[in-house]
């Protein structure tokens, strides 16, 4: 009897690894390969067959170039996510807990939020120059908002009964936040961070493509400019793999967290 299993299920999109996860990608690659064999000339400047991409992927993995670029991109994405996500979390909690602060900040927050990261590149480049810091600043700015918005919403979802408990216990604002509101909001905050993680990677790569001469985006762009589409696609596929692993490790962390909390 599987009576205790919920009808509709868990809050995560994917569980652990399952070989069946690979069915769809394999099918897509097979189709792409057939199409490429039929239509893409071997020395195309802009397209490449999947098997060439695979060969380049392995080659660049083996010679370490991909690893260095990954370290740079991931380093920027992680630290940017840490900074931006941290700030977003703090502001989200403050705005979620204090309707007054939320109303006062609404114009500022809502007009700053849609600033495209691409528009910030020259400014950030000017202030920080090439390197980690300019990328980090843009990633932090961009990831801050989704975390802020989703954290604020998560906090408003707190069971009103529990807020009343906090009030009659006269918990300080800090304790209300850390003992009642945040633990209840944690599952949603994890969602926010998983979203922001993907955004951080997207922005890191974009900044590298446009301006910053380091990391995976730069490698991908340079390969495209020097007419190596297979390498360029190899970078793209690798970015997907890195992103998947990034997300997977957040899911893993989340599970560790809840396992511990359950046992506590």
């Amino acid at each position: 009897m599987r009576a205790n299993q919920p009808v509709i299920a868990p809050s995560r999109m994917s569980q652990g690894f399952d070989p069946r996860n690979l069915v769809l990608p394999v099918v897509v690659f097979a189709i792409a390969e057939v199409l490429a064999l039929a239509y893409v000339p071997a020395d195309s400047f802009s397209l490449a067959a999947p098997h060439d991409v695979a060969v380049e992927l392995v080659r660049h993995l083996a010679d370490g170039t991909l690893m260095l670029a990954t370290a740079q991109t991931l380093g920027a994405a992680l630290s940017g996510l840490g900074l931006g996500g941290g700030l977003g979390l703090v502001f989200g909690v403050v705005l979620g807990l204090s309707p007054a602060a939320d109303r006062l900040m609404s114009v500022t927050v809502e007009t700053l939020r849609p600033i495209p990261p691409a528009a910030l590149i020259p400014l950030s480049l000017l202030v920080y120059g090439f390197g980690l810091r300019m990328e980090l600043a843009i990633i932090a700015f961009t990831t801050m908002w989704p975390v802020l918005v989703l954290t604020r919403a998560a906090i408003r979802e707190t069971e009103p009964g529990l807020i009343e408990v906090a009030r009659v216990l006269r918990l300080s604002a800090w304790r209300t936040a850390t003992r009642i509101v945040l633990p209840g909001a944690v599952p949603r905050i994890f969602v926010a961070f998983r979203l922001a993680a993907a955004i951080s990677l997207v922005v890191a790569v974009t900044v590298e493509v446009v301006a910053n001469p380091r990391g995976l985006g730069y490698g991908m762009m340079l390969a495209a400019q020097s007419l190596h589409p297979a390498i360029s696609f190899a970078f793209l596929v690798w970015i997907a793999i890195v992103g998947w692993c990034f997300n997977w490790s957040l899911v893993w962390l989340e599970r560790q967290f809840f396992a511990r909390r359950g046992a506590e």
Partner: protein
């Protein structure tokens, strides 16, 4: 909250924003950052006025707003539908979700060539790019919202033997609505960001394209004018979502 209180709060909020603008003015007046990259607020104001009176800023704005909302609605719809499917079907979770997780972190700018390949330099391409990028917040929130429904309510459904579709429509969606709206809120921001990318890469006239042209010719005031317009669109749309929230999750307050 009555109208007077509301407008007082709005005034306060505008006051805070004005404070930030004042800081910005002070920074550029003190020459801390080159005006080529951070123009003073007044110059941005002039650029805006000039854009509306002499340029085609209004037409650009209209085109961009239409794209943002079109793409965002498409993204939200897709996000909810996919989220529902993944929320209820273990098969979708096994076969589809991991692949989605893998394409989720792909930089949209790198994928645009593929979209252009499929759809050309068309309006549909711009919508598809926005929809692709803005889909994820709503998708993730929907999946989460479905997982966070009070288990007792699912038991009620089971003992009432409600069909799957009914459970989705009557229990899971309303219960997940706060999450979905929060996701859509973020999705809207992403749409605003992506409209710029899509207009640039798709050579479609609009606010984003004008930002690109301004950037190419180092017209910082025009860049910031464009950003400011996007900000206004962002603010207005946040207001719309607030209204939707009030109507759709009336039972929360």
């Amino acid at each position: 909250m009555n109208a007077v209180a509301r407008s007082l709060w709005l005034a306060g909020s505008l006051g805070v924003a004005a404070g930030f603008v004042a800081v910005w003015h002070a920074v550029s007046a003190a020459g801390l950052v080159s005006p080529v990259f951070l123009p003073p607020p007044a110059a941005v104001g002039r650029a805006l006025v000039n854009g509306f009176t002499n340029g085609d800023m209004l037409a650009n704005l209209a085109a961009t707003v239409a794209r943002v909302f079109g793409g965002w609605l498409l993204a939200s719809l897709l996000g909810i539908v996919l989220g529902v499917i993944i929320g209820i079907s273990s098969r979708a979770r096994i076969y589809v979700a991991p692949s989605l997780e893998a394409i989720r972190p792909l930089p949209v700018s790198a994928l645009v060539p593929i979209f252009i390949g499929l759809l050309g330099f068309t309006e549909q391409m711009v919508l598809a790019v926005i929809a692709f990028g803005a889909l994820w917040p709503t998708l993730l929130s929907t999946v989460h919202g479905f997982g966070a429904v009070e288990p007792r309510l699912y038991e009620v459904c089971r003992s009432l033997r409600l069909g799957r579709w009914e459970v989705i429509r009557k229990i899971a969606l309303p219960s997940a609505m706060p999450d979905i709206l929060a996701g859509m809120r973020v999705g809207l921001t992403v749409s605003l960001i992506l409209v710029v990318v899509a207009e640039i890469l798709g050579s479609r006239e609009g606010v984003g394209y004008s930002i690109l042209l301004a950037q190419r010719s180092y017209q910082a005031a025009d860049i910031f004018a464009g950003i400011f317009l996007l900000g206004c669109v962002g603010y207005a749309s946040a207001g719309l979502i607030n209204i939707a929230e009030k109507r759709l999750i009336y039972w929360r307050r």
